[in-house]
Amino acid sequence: MPLLNEDVKQQVREQLAGLESPVRLVMFTQEFECDFCAETRQLVQEVAGLSDQLEAEIYDFVEDEEQAEDYGIDKIPAVAVVGEEDDYGIRFYGIPSGYEFTSLLEAIRRVATGDAGLTGETLRFLSQLSDPVHLQVFVTPTCPYCPQAVVLAHQMALASPMVQADMVEAQEFPHLSTKYQVMGVPRTVINESTFVEGAAPESLVLQKLQESVANEEE
């Protein structure tokens, strides 16, 4: 049974019409598919079928070790949204369903245009990064505030080769939710140690990012 009904498919087709360049949805699952692995794979395949510019690549987390390493995948289900040439570091861990479906479509559109859509101030800061930055945005699919935080993190990944940005679906990775003390979403974890609660505006996330980078340099 398809996950997306005809109405939704039609809307997605319209939203993805006119993608400027090819985008690959690189998905990792395994032979005995984990909770939500099968659904995530099916979702990726259905979405890929809605635009000529989209292609789904499905890998096995265990057997395709090399690809998993290339994309830095450490848990599944995982989806990397990748440009024709460039991997910007945009990741979804767990199924991008519910409100996060919006984040997936947004990531596809952003990668296709290559336009991060951030303010000049943010772009200037990101261009000066000398060390890698890892953003993990914890979400639940029923959280209407969450896509704002996920999209912002993905925009930063798109803007800078130093930034990797993950959506992490909290319910599917309870050990990570525990590790990072997630009791509410969205919660953005910057480099393991700096936290942003809620759907914060770009200026506030930038400030937290600057603090985090400054702390590490000390």
């Binding site: 939203q15 369903s97 479906f101 919006t102 336009d115 959280c143 209407p144 999209v151 009791m183 609660e197």
Partner: protein
């Protein structure tokens, strides 16, 4: 978990924003809840060139509630997110440009009106303000420290983290009681703390809550402090009749003590009442001709989806009339 995709059409915006012809929009609607979306439906259908700035919560308050039981036309009730999505699909269908951007500043002293967001500026010959309301905070020690880490106002977002835990819901209105019932799906125990000795919620919610074995009540009491070191461990509660205080153990606190109008950005330009609601006449007009208002940001009394939608429709019709006279 069911797979329910939620779509928000998202267009990037940077710099000066006008419609395709290079002119200002005829109408800029600020706010993506039932009022703003209904205004966009009406304006779009009337062929008014409209853009809608949806802000931080696409779909507005219904998007963060589990379900809406009293919106006409849905006899079985409807999920809050689904209702919001339906509003948005309808606005989309009639051609409103829906933009996921939040307003940071407005200038209603010049015409066309100027509306700034983090990314750029929009111009409109008419404006409808439908920014809605945001959850009121308790304003007590511990609340800021634990907000997003044990204190929440979104049960649909955060309920999952309280599986087999004890939670407190503060409040006694529809939202408090409805969300308390929702939280029993996850939590082992839900305690409603209310400052009066009876609930204000609609009878049907009261009956459901009273019948739920996981829900108990602490009456005539207010929460004075949220306690905990790294995580929330409980609250200090004071009985307003006896003045006795007690500690109540809990892993999380959900606050539903009403809403505050989101009108800060308009202060000094639009007339506000002493509670911060935007003042309007019976035709949704503000003190500035061409600026209209709809929904919870101008409604201290009802705060219902159907009424927000109704005022949104009225505001759009008034805006259309205004634009018709516009030179």
């Amino acid at each position: 978990m069911e797979f329910e995709p939620t779509l928000a059409s998202a267009e990037a915006a940077e710099g000066e924003q006008s419609d395709a012809s290079g002119d200002a929009y005829e109408l800029v609607v600020i706010g993506g809840g039932p009022a703003g979306l209904t205004a966009a439906i009406y304006a779009g259908r009337a062929r008014v060139r409209t853009c809608l700035l949806v802000g931080s919560l696409p779909g507005g308050q219904p998007a963060s509630t589990a379900g809406v039981d009293n919106y006409p036309g849905f006899p079985e009730g409807i999920g809050g997110a689904e209702l919001a999505q339906r509003f948005q699909n309808q606005a989309d269908r009639f051609g409103a440009r829906i933009i996921p951007d939040s307003v940071t500043e407005v200038d209603f002293s010049q015409h066309p009106f100027s509306i700034r967001t983090g990314r750029g500026a929009y111009h409109g010959k008419a404006v409808i303000v439908a920014t809605g309301a945001a959850p009121r905070r308790l304003g007590i020690p511990g609340e800021d420290k634990f907000y997003g880490r044990g204190v929440s106002s979104c049960a649909t977002c955060d309920g999952f983290f309280y599986r087999d835990k004890r939670v407190i819901v503060v409040g006694g209105g529809d939202s408090a009681v409805d969300e308390a019932i929702f939280l029993t799906k996850f939590a082992e125990q839900v305690t409603i703390i209310h400052r009066r000795d009876e609930l204000r919620a609609t009878r049907i919610y009261q009956e459901k809550a009273m019948a739920n074995p996981k829900i108990d009540f602490i009456w005539s009491s207010v929460v004075e402090e949220i306690l905990g070191d790294q995580t929330v461990t409980g609250v200090r509660v004071r009985n307003v009749k006896t003045q006795d205080t007690e500690m109540v153990r809990a892993d999380g606190v959900f606050v539903y003590i009403g809403m505050e109008p989101r009108s800060d950005v308009f202060a000094g330009q639009l007339e506000l009442d002493n509670q911060g609601y935007i003042v309007s006449d019976r035709h949704q007009r503000t003190n500035i001709p061409g600026v209209f208002v709809a929904g919870d940001v101008q409604d201290p009394h009802y705060r219902q989806v159907v009424i927000a939608a109704g005022t949104g429709a009225a505001a759009a019709m008034e805006a259309e009339r205004y634009l018709g006279k516009y030179p």
